[in-house]
Each structure stands twice: as C-alpha cells, then as structure tokens.
Symmetry: C2
Amino acid sequence: MTYKEQILKKIKNNQEIVGIIGLGYVGLPLAVNFAEAGIHVIGFEKSQKKSDLINEGTNYIGDIRDAVLREVVVDKLTLEATTDFSRMKECDALIIAVPTPLDKFRKPDMSFIESACINIGQNMKSGTFVSLESTTYPTTTEDFMLPIIERESQLKQGKDFWLAYSPERVDPGNKQFHTRNTPKVLGAMSEDGVEIGEALYLKAIDYIHKVSSPRVSEMVKILENTYRLINISLINELALLAGKMDINIWEVIEAAKTKPFGFQAFYPGPGIGGHCIPLDPFYLEHIAKKYDFDLSMIHAAGHINMRMPHYMYIKIATALNKHQKPINGSKVLFLGVAYKPDINDERESPALEIMDITAYKSGVVSYHDPHIPEVTTNEGHKFVSEDLTIEALTQVDCVVLATNHKAFDIEYIKQHAKLIVDLRNMVEEQNENTFKL
Amino acid sequence: MTYKEQILKKIKNNQEIVGIIGLGYVGLPLAVNFAEAGIHVIGFEKSQKKSDLINEGTNYIGDIRDAVLREVVVDKLTLEATTDFSRMKECDALIIAVPTPLDKFRKPDMSFIESACINIGQNMKSGTFVSLESTTYPTTTEDFMLPIIERESQLKQGKDFWLAYSPERVDPGNKQFHTRNTPKVLGAMSEDGVEIGEALYLKAIDYIHKVSSPRVSEMVKILENTYRLINISLINELALLAGKMDINIWEVIEAAKTKPFGFQAFYPGPGIGGHCIPLDPFYLEHIAKKYDFDLSMIHAAGHINMRMPHYMYIKIATALNKHQKPINGSKVLFLGVAYKPDINDERESPALEIMDITAYKSGVVSYHDPHIPEVTTNEGHKFVSEDLTIEALTQVDCVVLATNHKAFDIEYIKQHAKLIVDLRNMVEEQNENTFKL
C-alpha cells in the first residue's frame, strides 16, 4: 500500500491519529470536534499548565462546553494533551494552530510556525498529512514552511508527506457558527494532499471548500479579515466626521441597513481588537513589500485604527472639560475591557490603550469587566476589576462605556454616573451628561 | 384648514398633484409609480425632446416597461411632462431628481440643484412639500437649498412649505429591487415635513424609514455608496497584488464567500463606473474639508480607482508584448463599454478611458456593445459599435472583455480571437492567449 492508500484507509476506518499543535481558541475546539467523532487526538502544547488542565478534563475556552471536553478526555478517552513533541511520530495528521502575532514593529513573528515546523520535521513519520491553520501571509506554506520541514525531515512533500493550508474561521462568542458548521477552505501543495485533507477534515467540519493552492487559501483568510478591517476603519473615520457635523452616525447606520442589497453594516468603536482583524492585514502588507507593492487601503485603515484610542481619550477629556474638570486627577471608570461583547478576551483591546493614555495624562483609572477579573495594560499597569456598585459609579468623575457586554445594566449606570462617555451606542440620548462616539 | 391639514387631506383622497423635476433614471420611475397609483404627476424636464417623448408615451429608461409608461400617459392620463416650470404652482409636492455631477476638478457641481431651487422658489404655491432625491453632501438641504428657496419664495420652511431629503436608491438593471420595493429613507427639517413626506411617498414606495434630519439621510446615501467604493477599491488593489503573486483573485473571492458571516463579496474590474459610486464619496470629501477633516479611506480608494484604467492598459500592452506586438499599430477590440452588465449606460465607464489610453498610445481601437450603438470617449473620440462577426474577432490583435454582458457568447469569442484580455472573469482558464485581471 502507498502512504496515500494507508492514510485514506485509516481515515475511512476512523483509525487515524490526529495531532493538533497549539490548544488555544482554534486548536482546542478542533481537537474536541475530532475527538467527539471518536478519533484519537493528541494535543501538543508547550504550556505544561494547559496540557495538565486538558488531561484532567478542565476547559479554559469559552466556545467549548465544559461537559463536552470532560466527556472526550475522561469518558471516551479520545483526547489527550502532551508537552512531548516527539509523540508526533504517532500521528497520521498534524494540524498547526499556533499564534502568529506581529512584533512591536508590526512585522510578522513567524517563530511559532517555525518552531512547529522544526518539531514536525524532526518527529513526524513518513506518510503524514500536515496542515497549517494559523493566519499568515500568502506563500508562507510553500516558501517558508516547506523548506524547513523538508530540511529537518529529509522527506519529500507530495511523496513522503503532504502539506496544506486550511485557515481557521473561529469567531469567538458566535452562537450560530462554530467550528463544525463553518465551511472550511483547503488548499494543498498537491492533489493528493487536497484529497487526504478533505477526507480528514470532514470528520470535524461539515463542508470543505477546496482551492487550487495553499497561497489561494492563505489569501482567502487575509481577504476576509482585511474586508472587516477596512470597513470598520471606514465607519470609524465617518463617525469622527459625523461627530463634527452634528450627525448621529448610529442613526445613519440603522437607516443604511434598510437598503436590501449591496450594503453590510459595520459599527464604529474605540478601535479594533482581538487576534485577527488588527493583525492579519499587516501580514499581507509585509509580503506585498517583497513584490514592491503598496497596499494603500490597508495602510489608510491601519492609520485610522492606530489613532482611534487617542481620539477616544480626547472624547473623555472633552466630556470632563464640559464638566469643568481636567483629566489630571479625575477618576475615570472603564466599563468593559474585552475587545468585543460577552467574551473574556482583552487581547489587542483598545480599552487598554485608552486606559494607558488616560493614566499617562494623570487620570485616575479603574475598570470593571464581569468577564475579566484582572488585566495588565500595554504599558504594564496592572488593574483588578472593581465591583460595579452604586458607590463605584457615583464616586468617579466619568464612566466610559468601552465594551457593550450584555451584563451591563444601562439604566442602573445612567442613574448613578455623573458623566458617561459612550463608545458603543449603549445609551440612546445625548445630553450634557452623556457623550456618544 | 392649515396648509398641513390641506395637503394631508389631499394625499388621503389621492387628489395631490406631484411635480417631479428631472425625468431621468431616478425621476421617471418614481413619476410612473405615483402615476400608476392614480396620482396626477407633472414631470418637469429642461429637455424638450425628453418631455415630448414622455407625452407621446415613449419610454427611454431601461427599468420601466414601455407598456406601463404608455398606460399612465395615454390611458390613465395621470402622467404628463412639461418644460414649463411655472406649472410648479399647480403642484402640492415637488420632488427633485436632477443630476449632481462632479466637475473636472472633482468638485460638486451644484448648478442643477441650485437651478431647481430657484425655479421652485419662484413658482411654488404656499403649502408645498419639497424633497430632494439627488445624492449630495450632508448639510446641502439645510445650508444650500433652504436659503435659496426661502429667498426666492419669500416663504418660511416649516410654516409655508416643508423641505426634506430622501435619497434615491435606484440600482439600474436590478430585477429584484426597484423603486417601489426598495425601502426609502426620509429626513425633513420639521416633524410636519416627515409626516407629510411619509404619507406622500407611501403612494409610490412600500416602506419609508424616517430619520431625524435631512443631514442624516444625506449621510445615509453617502455611506451606502462609500461602502461600495472602498470595497471595490480594496478588491481591485488586492487583485493587482494577487496578479503579481500568481494568485487567482477570482478563486479567492469564491472561497471567501463560503464564510457564512461577516463577509460580502466584491469583484475587481477595470475601474468604477456609473453615476453614483465613482462620484458620491467625493461629495463627502468636499464637505469634510470645511470641517478640516481628511477622509483617508476615500482618498486611498479614489487613488486606486483613478489608476485602474491605466493598469488595465498595461495589461493589454503586456499581453500584446507576449505576442511580440507593440500597442502601436495593433488592433484592439473592446467588448462592452457599459459600466455594468446588461445596461445601456456608459457614464463614467472605465472602458472608455482604457480606449482613450490605448488610442493615445497609437493602438487601433474599436468596440462592440450590444446595448450601446455609439459612444464618445472622454477625449472626444467618437466610435460606432462594430458587428461581432468572425471577421471582427479574427482580424484584431487583441480582444478586451471589458463588460460582462450576458449577450456575449464566450465560446464563440474564444474560438475566433487570437488574444483575449479578460477584465471580468468571463473566461475560466489562463493560457498564452488569455490573460485575466
């Protein structure tokens, strides 16, 4: 039997062992989906703590139900985690779901992918299917990953192993679309890779959309998130202008939404947060330079979003000024630091940056977030979430509505806060005590 | 009875007379809708020719069925056209649907609106409802129109007449959404104006979405079209980069469309045409300057789109070069000059600009468009549509697919053309004789 016949037979008989590298918000839901289908999954984690949590059946990801994780780990015994990367040789498929952050100069930090590829190259057996899920710039799979894996393994892609790119589309907190029912795009370096990848992924995901190459699927993910970046940036820019023109941008968006074709609503906010939208487009900008190409839309969008937290600080300062108070010495309570509602993730959250600017200007900063008990800002300031008591609201000079968590009782906040700066359209009316983005 | 009671009573009894100023692709469908509802409509047209055509029941707008126009003009006698603007005094409502072009320096040309306002001010009777439908910059109704009408009429808005802004959302060629079933946004300068406007418009349109001011409704229209401009610009920019990276952008878009949330597909093309998308955002850019505001997203988008026809010319030159031919002296046949498929409108069409550039570089230009028998390019060159014969296809050095009209038989074109440059994803495969955007 050829390697291809072997792996397809195993997949057919549910006998394949799937290794998933990185058990974060992408890797863990995928691992659980495979494990629920009765497939033996080994999760590879650098963090001993996360690995131990999984192995005792303790969930740490919002989109996974605790009972489901416990079931696959404790009852079905189909999911286990390990920090021992040499166990990759047990796997028939290796799926990489590691972070791809930008460094402080907005350059892609490829070290996690590189490290995963070295581990794979040194440990995998012949006949393994390898797929990257992390967002990255087009050509990464072919030009960055392939040479590392072939060098470390001394194996040949297309013959001894298959290399594919299949971007994650996880939307944390989305109740309608989760890993299984979100169609998945798959591009591989050879036709066999696509065939094997589809057979494998169909265990965990309902629909696989095949494309002609890894670079096409890499571009798909970037397009999806760049679309969001530029539209959020546009509406942020228009919101700033609308504010100057005495136009309520929220009312404009609601009205525009009545157009039954050719429009999708985006909403302004204090900036763009999370792990995807603020980062992914800059991956493309990075690789574009190699092609002597300037991406002016992404550039302009980045420009706006970098400045949004500063504009939001100005909104706070202006509101306090109307109450004849300077920022210096004023108490400012931020409600919500998560980057979007009803999740416990403050990565890249603009609220943290506004807190830093406010503190830097000698404002007395505090916060409350029902989902995030403590945070460290970009500048390294540590805060613990205050209780949202009447006293907490009345004693501060300004309350900033920074994240629209459902848990917030707006009537209660309005009743007790002296001054509200609403960055999320949570309060309907504007008046001398309420200022809206 | 107050003026308000009078007009509401007339509307209730279907006795109001509606004047529509400008019988183009916006005004005429609206006029026909009112007339179909049995309301007496007077269409005001500067062009004697258009006025005569209407009065003899001859249709000149693609989205109106000829029989329907004939019915309201000849049988029901509810629609008439005139060039006599003094007849505005017969009307209870005056709806303005005149062009709002940009001049050669991309500044709004307000002369059509100004002229309409002067005519209205000099002719309307007390108790008239006045509404602008033309796209324009926010504050136009309040700051530009109101002073002219009040000065010319010596009447007071809110007391003697009402002024509103209600943007048209006509999408020429759209079979699903036309004037009646496309919700209409309405903002007026006083609450009475909104009440009267809604009662009136409901005769011709199924749903009216009311907003708090004309400037909000002005911004709605700009937002809708700016959204389209920046997304088309983004995908055009990504298409150019994808071309350099050996990525098929059309395949990328098809795959991205499988994302079931948070994505709307836009397609690249040779540039942006028509009467809205290329113009409307620059209205906003114009007024933003008054507020010392720089709209960087619109600016970047404008930048890309101004250059697209030039890039498309380069695509043609590069394709010919692969066939060892210079542009100079080569015969280039453009298929389609309309700005979008299956319509007979070449306004702002990028095809015309690419034809001009090609001719300027001494290419021998011709075109065929089943919907447009003759055109004059921006540079003043006049062309007559060639017949799409085998000879026409075989004798030219390059065929440029510039508009994706359904009428084009792609197999026939592929069979006979030596070289195809496909700007609209009409041909599937790329090879040495077929180059795609």
